[in-house]
């Protein structure tokens, strides 16, 4: 059964230096509050995993908490570059980051295999590209038809962290809107944390919602606004203005660092943008 706790205790208990951590969210339900708590607790040498490392990972990379990044699209969606991500790869600032990149289809299948506790997933993809030689894929032959396909290795992060709209007092979680790979992340990870907008007495079933039962989640934390500046459909709107603001601010190392010190490191738990 999931335990309901505070963000500070959850991060202290679940995440250790050097862990592989997936803080997922496909434009929606991005666990910013949890990521910021990782920074406040000074976690280092992390292997950060995420399909779309947008602003949160830009912040974590810029603060030097990542040893390695596993991803498929590193951009500020609709705005442009992730300047801290670029600075780390192009100039090794503040520290060099090892990268392992995939396509979205590859990453999605890696999570699905991880959730199924299979060693790999089979798909069509990568062939003919330069990515094939730069990442962890291997050719595989279909034993039934002989067709040439590719295999991608399962992703099983040490810790999976996602945000959702609500949980009940037993720690059952419900999320709706764009589901991304939230379910796969929790099911693939060795340990999991779900932050939620609110804890309710009873989960009211919603069409198209995903439910993660309490018995597959380790820790649940109430963190209202915990996905901002991304959003939690129906509760918190996406702050598009912040994504544009970030494009300017994050270009400059000093401006970035002082903003992070002031707005993330010096703030109490869950009082995040």
């Amino acid at each position: 059964m999931a335990e309901i706790t505070t963000l500070r205790e959850a991060v202290a208990e679940l995440v250790k230096d050097g862990d592989s951590v997936a803080l997922e969210g496909f434009t929606h339900l991005i666990p910013f509050a949890a990521g910021h708590e990782l920074l406040r607790q000074g976690r280092r040498e992390l292997e950060l995993i995420r399909m779309t490392p947008d602003l949160l990972y830009d912040q974590m990379i810029g603060m030097g908490s990542a040893r390695k990044l596993v991803f498929s699209y590193g951009g500020n969606p609709g705005v442009g570059s992730l300047h801290r991500f670029r600075d780390a790869i192009e100039h090794g600032w503040p520290a060099p980051v090892e990268i392992e990149e995939h396509s979205h289809a590859g990453m999605a299948n890696r999570y699905a295999a991880g959730a199924a506790k299979l060693p790999f997933a089979v798909m069509r993809g990568y062939v003919g590209t330069d990515l094939m030689a730069r990442t962890t894929v291997a050719p595989v032959t279909c034993p039934f038809t002989g067709e040439q396909l590719v295999a991608v290795p399962a992703l099983n992060p040490d810790v999976g962290i996602v945000h959702a709209q609500e949980a009940d007092r037993e720690g059952n979680v419900q999320l709706w809107g764009i589901p991304g790979v939230q379910k796969e992340t929790v099911l693939a990870a060795e340990r999991s944390l779900v932050t939620v907008e609110r804890i309710v007495d009873e989960l009211v079933p919603r069409p198209g919602a995903i439910v993660l039962p309490s018995w597959v989640v380790d820790l649940v934390v109430e963190a209202p606004g915990g996905s901002r500046p991304s959003y939690s459909l129906g509760i918190v709107d996406r702050d598009n203005g912040f994504y544009k603001f970030w494009d300017g601010l994050s270009r400059d190392r000093d401006a970035f660092t002082s903003w992070m010190n002031e707005n993330v490191l010096a703030t109490p738990e869950a009082s995040v943008r």
Partner: protein, 253 residues
Amino acid sequence: MTVTSDPTATAGEVQTVVAARRLEHVQSVFIGVGRPSTAAILARIVHNPELVLIYESGTIGAKPFRIPLSIGDGELAQTADFIVPVPEMFNYWIGAGRIEVAFLGAAQVDRHANLNTTVIGDYEHPKTRLPGAGGAPEIAASCGEVIVIAPHTRRTFVEQLDFLTTVGHGDGPGARQRLGFRGAGPSAVITDLGVLEPDPDTRELVLTQIHEGVELDAIHEATAWDLEVASDLTITDAPTAQELSALRELMSR
């Protein structure tokens, strides 16, 4: 906001209008943000109200009133016919070949419409690190056809890609078949200067359409390889008053 009534379209407006026209008889289109998204929403307004817009965030049949900033804006989820998880999007919908047309952008395009969105310069020590593959490789392999939308500059239309992220027509005839791709690949590259289409035999891009007021020299100047020009090169029909006012009204929302 006021909508400008200048009857002369900008190069960017022409590019968007030309891309939208391609969707007149299409059932479903896969789109990213930016100009492709604007073009597809415009197509729903002007040409094809039944057009199914599909964003890789999993929103299928989205009907945005405003142009979304990201591929996962709340309005896309709220207006979608249905929403699917990302593994399902790539396996059941894209990979299975259920989407008719895909719009893709790129930082570099070569003569066979192969695309680079990974790095400029060397992979290990890039001059510019770009976002990476995203969904593009499998989208381009499996969607019915691909339309590339890119700004026409010498930096974009290169002789040799710095990194081959997404296969268009590979090294030419038969490449896609050898790789086992089921989609037809790029059918057009729409730029702010004209339209390039692959030659049916060589699969090399040929200039088939030039936008009104653009000089042929400007296109050669903006293309790093010796671009072939179709013998029946046509001049793009200028955006109609209806297309232009719908586009401007959409942009002002």
